[in-house]
């Protein structure tokens, strides 16, 4: 369990993280979602004791990170996949991290095999592709076999194969009963990965909800209607629904089922060429939700 209470980070006048309070439960993937600059990385860095909080607390299994008896056995973190000395081998990079927590050497070989890097373990990490570095970063996170995992933008810059691999890894880790917290600025990445969502904007908590509830609350159904007699149909629907014209022969209707629209059109003798329900994308719902935060920021910059 990761618990954040009143966490705040202030850089001079700017509040990067503003009084955040949330908990991350074990056994599910929690998505930490927000636009770029929303304070996600800063929050994760404070949870991991890399940055000092201006106020508030962050604990993992009830203790601040710096008070963990062996931190890598409490939390595994992937913050920056590029963070490896180019001239050092993958094996020695992990060996040094393991040694710092008294983790046996056998565990290094184990995690290298787990992420599929066993054949390049003795190669200099500087020659690794982004995908391989990401795997090395994941290997480092798994070293201590920790009950909690924190990933900052783990899908950034990965090819589809790498994305699928990390997704299934996170799902597996959660299914094993671990805490899995993953940040992203893309709703589309969360949709297929997260069970629970924590949405932040401009350092503030905007939503803390299950993915299911978020989808239900934000997936307004629309019906697309194509007809050569749009002007005739429009007044027939306008009473019961919100109708906007997308084109001279296309209407987008919210608030009515497709069947009802078809019935109303038939009753009015209007010929239909298309009648298709569609769902507003979650990406758009997320953008609507965080728009205020983003706009406020843009406005502030121009001052």
């Amino acid at each position: 369990m990761i618990e954040v209470r009143g966490l705040t980070k202030r850089y001079g006048e700017v509040l990067a993280v503003d009084d955040l309070t949330f908990g991350v439960r074990a056994g599910e993937v929690t998505g930490f979602l927000g636009p770029n600059g929303a304070g996600k990385s800063t929050t994760l860095r404070m949870i991991l004791g890399l940055d000092a909080a201006s106020s508030g607390t962050a604990t993992v299994q009830g203790r601040p990170y710096s008070a963990q008896p062996a931190p890598l056995k409490a939390v595994g973190a992937l913050l920056d996949p590029g963070a490896v000395l180019p001239s050092r081998t993958a094996f020695h990079h992990l060996l040094a991290l393991a040694a710092g927590n008294g983790i046996p050497r056998s565990r290094v070989d184990h995690v290298l095999a787990e992420v599929g890097l066993e054949n390049v373990a003795r190669r200099r990490a500087g020659a690794f592709s982004l995908g391989m570095r990401q795997r090395l970063g994941i290997a480092a996170a798994l070293l201590g076999d920790p009950p909690a995992l924190v990933f900052d933008e783990p899908l950034n810059g990965l090819d589809p194969e790498g994305i699928v691999w990390i997704r299934s890894l996170m799902r597996r880790m959660a299914a094993e009963g671990r805490v899995v917290l993953m940040s992203s600025h893309l709703m589309s990445e969360m949709e297929l990965t997260a069970d629970h969502l924590i949405v932040v904007g401009r350092g503030k908590l905007i939503a803390d909800t299950t993915m299911k509830d978020f989808i239900e609350a934000h997936s307004e159904r629309e019906v697309l209607v194509r007809t050569p007699r749009a002007e005739t149909l429009r007044p027939l629907l306008a009473g019961a629904a919100d109708v906007r014209a997308e084109d001279s022969d296309t209407l987008v209707v919210t608030g009515l089922e497709a069947a009802t629209i078809g019935a109303l059109a038939a009753a009015g003798g209007v010929e239909l060429h298309e009648l298709s329900p569609r769902q507003v994308s979650l990406e758009k719902a997320f953008m609507d939700l965080t728009r205020d935060a983003v706009e406020y920021q843009a406005e502030k910059r121009t001052n």
Binding site: R25, A26, G27, E28, R45, L48, G49, L50, D51, A52, Y65, S66, Q68, P69, A70, P71, L72, K73, V75, A77, L79, D80, G82, A83, V84, L85, S87, R88, T89, H92, L95, A96, L97, A99, G100, N101, G102, I103, P104, R107, H110, G144, D145, P146, P147, P160, R167, A175, G177, E191, L192, D195, T210, M211, I215, S219, P277, R278, Q279, S281
Partner: protein, 293 residues
């Protein structure tokens, strides 16, 4: 798992494993148990300094330069010895002649010490380092100890190599020279090695504060060579004070066999250097502890 780009426009039904909130995993058996200690961190830093490619090049560079300069210096100074005035002959210092390469070797050692910190910031490995060991005092302390573990023995090898080469070269040129059995020789060799280890720690402290490798090297040049070169040009009392107490100048007395009455004694001078390095390490710790990684 569905490929994101092949997904049809209406959002598909999401297949999810049921949430298992509250289920606790048993404590890990794979990763071992027990509390991480300073010795674990020291072990980690030892692996890191051993597997940093620059470590070997810096050591070999320092060794080659110090020994090479001892050979050149020995033969040229030895050749000129016969033409010196009796007063200059009395002041001839075979120990310092052979160990003069320390002037450049100290930069190499300082660079090695600096790299122990700056390579972490350059490659951003400071993040995994501090997530593995969040206690900053432990990180800096174990880095310092691992560094001394490399720099002190290598420093002694460098001074021993330069001494042997320099004395052989002086002897070949027919000038006065020393044997290892001379007390002053052992002081120069071990004291010189100690001085180089202190130079490495000075580099570590600077690197922890400055964080950039190039800026650290530039600072090392300024502190160790430029001030030394320009100290005599400084006005009156300031020039005298700097020539006597500037830590690298004071510490450098450890390799002299003929005492300069204006300078501090060899061990007193090395003490000034050690005190200065200790103070800088304390500053580095305060800065390192207070700063976001």
């Amino acid at each position: 798992m569905r490929h994101p780009h092949t997904r049809p426009e209406p959002t598909p039904v999401l297949v999810k494993l049921p949430a298992r909130a509250g289920r606790r995993r048993p404590a890990s058996k794979n990763a071992g148990s027990g509390r991480a200690t300073f010795w674990h961190s020291l072990h980690a830093e030892w692996i890191k300094i051993r597997t940093m490619r620059s470590t070997l090049s810096v050591i070999l560079g320092a060794l080659a330069f110090a020994v090479g300069l001892a050979a050149l210096n020995g033969s040229s100074a030895g050749g000129e010895y016969a033409d010196l005035s009796p007063a200059d002959q009395a002041a001839f210092d075979p120990l310092a002649t052979s160990l003069m390469g320390y002037l450049v070797a100290q930069i190499a050692f300082g660079l090695l010490g600096g790299l122990v910190m700056t390579s972490e910031y350059g490659a951003r490995t400071i993040v995994p380092t501090l997530t593995s060991v969040p206690q900053r005092a432990r990180v800096l302390g174990s880095k310092a100890l691992a560094l001394v573990g490399v720099a002190l023995p290598v420093g002694i090898v460098v001074t021993l190599g330069a001494f042997s080469m320099g004395q052989a070269s002086l002897s070949g040129a027919g000038a006065p020279h020393l044997a290892l059995s001379d007390g002053v020789a052992l002081r120069g060799i071990f004291g010189g090695g100690l001085y180089l280890a202190l130079a490495a720690l000075l580099g570590l402290a600077l690197g922890a504060v400055i964080r950039s490798t190039t800026a650290t090297v530039t600072t090392l040049f300024g502190v160790m060579l430029i001030v030394q070169a320009f100290a005599p040009a400084l006005p009156g009392a300031l020039g005298d004070w700097v020539s006597k107490f500037w830590p690298p100048i004071a510490g450098g007395q450890i390799i002299t066999a003929v005492r300069d009455p204006e300078a501090l004694g060899p061990w007193a001078g090395l003490g000034v250097m050690a005190g200065c390095v200790a103070a800088l390490l304390a500053v580095a710790f305060v800065v390192f502890r207070g700063r976001d990684a």
